[in-house]
Every structure is written in C-alpha cells, then in structure tokens.
Symmetry: C2
C-alpha cells in the first residue's frame, strides 16, 4: 500500500499527485439522495461496494439506512466484514473450494449470501457451509437481458430454488435480477423499456415460486442508471446501485429526463493531476495517465476549465489541448480530471483524499483495492 | 497488499483467480534476447521498470548486464532503490518540491538522474539537490516526434544543457530522446522511418552540443517496437525498452519482418481466470474483468484455446464466445488471457505468480504497484 498523498488539513496544492480526490459535499449529497429515494419508494438499499471498495464509505451508507453491502468478490467481502459490515451479498457466482471456504469462514462474523446459476455449485457450497457449521444465504440469479451469468427465468429458476431449499447449510433468500447492460443505454426510454422486459422475466419467476409454495423474500438488482424503474416495478425490493456515490463520464453521457443529460447524481470523484510540462501554449501535459484512471470508456474530462480537453492518454501522462478561449496553464497548476469509469479507476488507488472547502478533511484507505479473488 | 494467490509448488488449478501469471521460460528468453542484442550492438540497456514495477525483475535484468533501470515516477524510483537497484533514471520531468525532495533523498543511496524541459525546473531541482548535499544527473528531453514533453532539438536543447552545466547540484548527463508513438506503428517500415526522423533531431542536437563544447555522455530512449533502429543509428547509446519482458496484444498486432506479425519477443504474461458460469454451450463467463487487465487497447485474447474469443468485458467478468470448433469449457476450467496492454495490467496486481512446467516456482511482489506519485 502506498503512503497517503496528503495530510489532513492540507490544501489542494499540497496534495501529491496523481491522487484520487472526493468532493465530500457532493459525495454526501449523492449518498443522501439515493437513501431518501429508497426510503420513500419503500425498497431496501444495498449499495454496491464494487464501486468504492472502502469500509469507511460502506459504514456511511449503512448509517443512512442501507441494509448492508453487496460486492462481487470474496476478497471484497473479507475486507468489508473486517471493516465492520454485518450483512453482505456477493451478487455473483463463487466457484472453487478455496473461495467457498473463505466465504463460509466470513459467515461466522456476518450474514453472508451469494448467487447461484448451477446445481453443482449449490451442492458444493452447501457441503462447505456444513463443514464450517454456518448457514449461507442463497439467491438464484436469473438472466434478465444482460446475457452474462444466470439461469433462464421460470422453471429453471424454480428448480434451482427448490434444490437450495433442500440443501442443508443454505437458506434460499430470493432472486438476483440485475440488468447490467441497461444501465448505460442512451435514453431514459430505452432504459425503462429494458427494465420492463426484465420485469416480465422477474414476474414470471416470482409468480411461479409463489404458486409452488417457495417463499421468495428478496428480489435484488438495479444500478445507478435504472434504479427508479426497478423501484417502481413493485417486483424488486432491494436496489444495488454503486456508481451513484461518485458518477463518471460514462454515466454523464447518457440521457436524463426532459432531453437533458443524466444528472441525478453529482460528480464527486476526481483524479487530481499536476501540469508537468507546457511545451506549447495550446498543449499542457499532466502527470496522470492509465495507471491513475481507467480509459476504456474514453479519456477523462477536464473539470472546471473552459475550452480544455484531454486529447491523448498514455501510461503516466495525459495531453491537454487548450482551445482559443482557454486560460493558460502553467507548470505546477493542479487539474481535476473526471474519470470515464469510476469502478476500475478507484481500483487503481490506495487512498481517497476527501476535500471540503479546498482542504483535506478525510483520508480513507481503499482497503479492497485489488481484492479480486 | 492482497495475499499471494498461490503457494510455491502449487499447480495451475490451485492458483486463486484472477492471478497475474508469468511463464518463466518465456520471460527468461525475453530477458536474455534483449540483453544479448544490446551487448552485440554495443549499446547500454536500461530496461523500463514502468512495465514490471518489481525489484526482483529489475535485479534479474541487471544480472544480465543492464546498467540500471529507468522509471517514470519518483514512487517507482523509491521502490527500486529500496529493492537494491543502484542506478536509476527517471525518464520524465519531475515537478513539485515534495517530489524533488524525495528524489534527492534517494540520491544518498543510488545514482539518480531525471529529465528536464524547462529552465525553471533546472533551477528548482538544483536548489533541492544542494539542500540535500547530493548530485542529481540531469538529461535534457528533446521532442523527437511524440508531441508530449520535451524541448525542440538544437538551440533550445543547448540552452538548457548549458544552464544545467552551470547549476551546482546537477550534472549534465545527456539527452532523453524517446519516440513513444513510434512503438506501435503498424509496419516495420513506418517504425523505421519514424526513428530516422527522430534521429535527425538527435543528430542536430548532438552535433551542436559537440560544437559548443558541451560533453554529451548519453543519448537514451527507444522502446520494444523500435529498439533495433535506435541501436543501429550510431546516435542512441542506451535503450529503455520495457514491454519486451512480457509482450501484450497491442504489440502482437503490429507488423514484424517479412510480412509477419511482430514476434521478436514471446508472450510471457497472462491473467489466469476461472470459468464461473456456462449459461450456454457457446458462452462461458470467466472471473476476470477490468479490475484484472487494462482494456483500453481492446479485450484480452484467449491463449491456447482454438476458436474461443473474448466478446465482452465488464468490471469483474469476461464473456467468452466459443465457436463451432471450440472444445467445450466447463465450470472451474482455467483460462489464460493475454492482456491488451501489459504496463497498466501489471499495475492492477500485487503479485507475479511465476510458473514453470505447470507449477508455481516464484511469487514476486509488484512492489511499485500504484506508486504513481
């Protein structure tokens, strides 16, 4: 783990760059906005820790009413439980004896659930849970449009749920129904339609489980781009949004309501960089590249500087182009970059540097950075 | 730092995934091949640690004749010096008092040099070196085609070199002349032409320095894609190649000699993943996504499996498409992925898992992972 890039109380200029900076005011507004939304909608909120990878943030979400956290990896679950989170859903399949043992061990200290899309995994996981003397929550993941993991809705989901109910060591909790590819569809209408289609699959499965007497406590899923549709469906009763805490350019590019851009939540996450070279008036080079932000969704945006854009990205540099109306940049100037994709950007850093009113107020370790197993 | 994903002696199946795996035989052949090339060409080899970020690998390169290491960041230099490397060039500009102090402190334990493209940086760095009672090597970076940092060749480079020679605390070592965008030009001819153009800029500058009586000990630069041209130029006398140790799909896609693909070096770096779901015969999902490899150069290639390709990448998953002639994949099967871009992929992992003959033989900490300041 690298040392923190600043000390509490430092000014922006004193932060060693590149650094992952959180605008605490914007971040807190995002946290409260979705917490309030979920409360009013009458659905549970289980924010996704795959975005922030940080127990300090998880505990803030829980303090505002979240029921716990979800995550994608056993390694993330380990960090969250060590950090004080008491209720974890691994919203993913877990394959391999060693990983299952690590998850079962965690169930000694927390409520732990995971997802299934195959009978052999149900059997293997039940055996490990019994071996460790614990009970693991079990959800059936159904395919609702993403074409990734998951069993088809209806009969195959019922069969797997029944197998779980008969497997000692496991407790059937409900359905995992997440439509990942719907999150970034360009228009609100497209996103709403995708979730309406997903809802058909969910309703069919929920109805079948009810008819057959299999109690389905939870239908969990949704992300930042579609959460309002799952919440309004009357089917999902738990939301798994993650990116809402930070936002990124990939979300900022999709459409919102009334023909505007999607702006339900604010950009609160920035990569702070320093101008290290100004070889020409229209070109400035900053000290943050592919090792400080993920660029598979395009280069980062420059925040708060008119007529300046990122035109090139390399491993340790970004090239900024200053247009005719841009204010000149000088060597040593700080620049805030908005990453294209927040989750893999966070996973590059060891520390959040929380700032308020231009000063460092928080240093939160990204304790689950790299926890990908 | 995450725990190592395997123990020495483990088989491939026992490695917890995703894991960053090095084929030690291929890796060692790559190391020897470039070391032999540099020796025969009569040029110094200073491999780039920005690729591997690992003192254990640096020391192997030095044992084969490399004069030291180069790196892009002060944080990398700190890790290398702590790991036993005695001669470091930061092949980059270093801006900011704190970073300069960190670099000067390292010069107590190692020979340390850095690059300049501005007079104000020469003055600031000289002052810090004197404050710490050390001497820092200083190279003038000249622009040779990449349009990133660097002063123009000729007079501006001479002026900066003269300023360095007059600045106590600094010792003028020569020219940094790296053409980054030439490395991945599609054909050998294009790469050769780009370096010929760069050579014009270098020759002009070297000649001018000589005429004016400024001794220029080093001309350093070159990368994996063009190293043979710099070596043959009679101008460059130090090569900075980095990616040759591992290779990636971005290098594998460029053209080599005789109309073939570039194959000077072998793929030795892989992300080992596990099949976690097989929802359909033609689709398998593995447990490694954007947090385990960099994808801005495209999705990873599947190694050693005929008619299987990566068709989708998300944060923690990759979707594989099995064509009609592919061997079926089963849940739990291991898959080796070749990353699109090795440097930012390495920067996601804490450990190299070195394998030979199917067993884990080495666990090397990627000690400079995340060392971006």
């Amino acid at each position: 783990m690298t040392p923190p890039p600043a000390r509490i109380g430092a000014t922006l200029d004193e932060i060693d760059t590149p650094a992952l900076v959180v605008d605490l005011d914007a971040f807190e507004r995002n946290l409260r906005k979705l917490a309030d939304f979920a409360r009013k909608a009458g659905v549970r909120l289980r924010p996704h820790a795959k975005t922030h990878k940080c127990p300090a943030i998880a505990l803030k979400q829980i303090a505002l009413g979240a029921v716990g956290q979800c995550c994608q990896k056993v390694g993330e679950a380990e960090v969250l439980v060590r950090g004080g989170v008491k209720d974890i859903l691994v919203s993913n399949e877990v394959v391999g004896l060693h990983k299952l043992r690590r998850l079962a061990a965690l169930a000694k200290d927390a409520t732990v659930a995971l997802c299934f899309d195959a009978a052999e995994q149900v059997e293997a996981t039940g055996a490990v849970a019994r071996d460790f003397g614990v009970q693991l929550g079990a959800l059936v993941e159904i395919e609702v449009g993403m074409q990734r993991c998951g069993v088809p809705p209806g009969e195959p989901a019922l069969a797997l749920a029944r197998l779980i109910t008969k497997t000692p060591g496991l407790k059937f909790r409900g359905l995992q129904a997440y439509h990942g590819t719907a999150q970034h569809l360009p228009s609100v209408d497209e996103r709403e339609k995708a979730i309406q289609t997903a809802a058909v699959a969910v309703r069919q499965t929920v109805d079948l489980l009810r008819q057959k007497g299999v109690a389905c406590e939870l239908v969990t899923g949704a992300g930042t781009g579609t959460h309002q549709f799952e919440a309004a469906s009357g089917l999902w009763n738990e939301l798994q949004a993650g990116s809402y805490v930070f936002m990124d350019t990939d979300y900022a590019r999709i459409g919102g309501s009334n023909g505007n851009r999607f702006a339900e939540f604010e950009h609160s996450l920035f990569v702070l960089a320093t101008v290290m070279s100004v070889p020409a008036a229209e070109r400035a080079i900053v000290d943050a590249g592919l090792k400080s932000y993920s660029a598979e969704k395009g280069p980062p945006w420059v925040h708060g500087l008119a007529d300046v854009e990122t035109v090139g990205v390399s491993d340790e540099h970004a090239k900024l182009k200053l247009g005719p109306t841009a204010k000149p940049l000088r060597r040593g100037d700080k620049v805030m970059l908005i990453p294209g994709h927040c989750d893999p950007t966070v996973n590059l850093h060891d520390w959040y540097v929380g700032i308020r009113a231009g000063r460092v107020e928080a240093l939160w370790p990204i304790a689950a950075r790299g926890a990908s197993t």
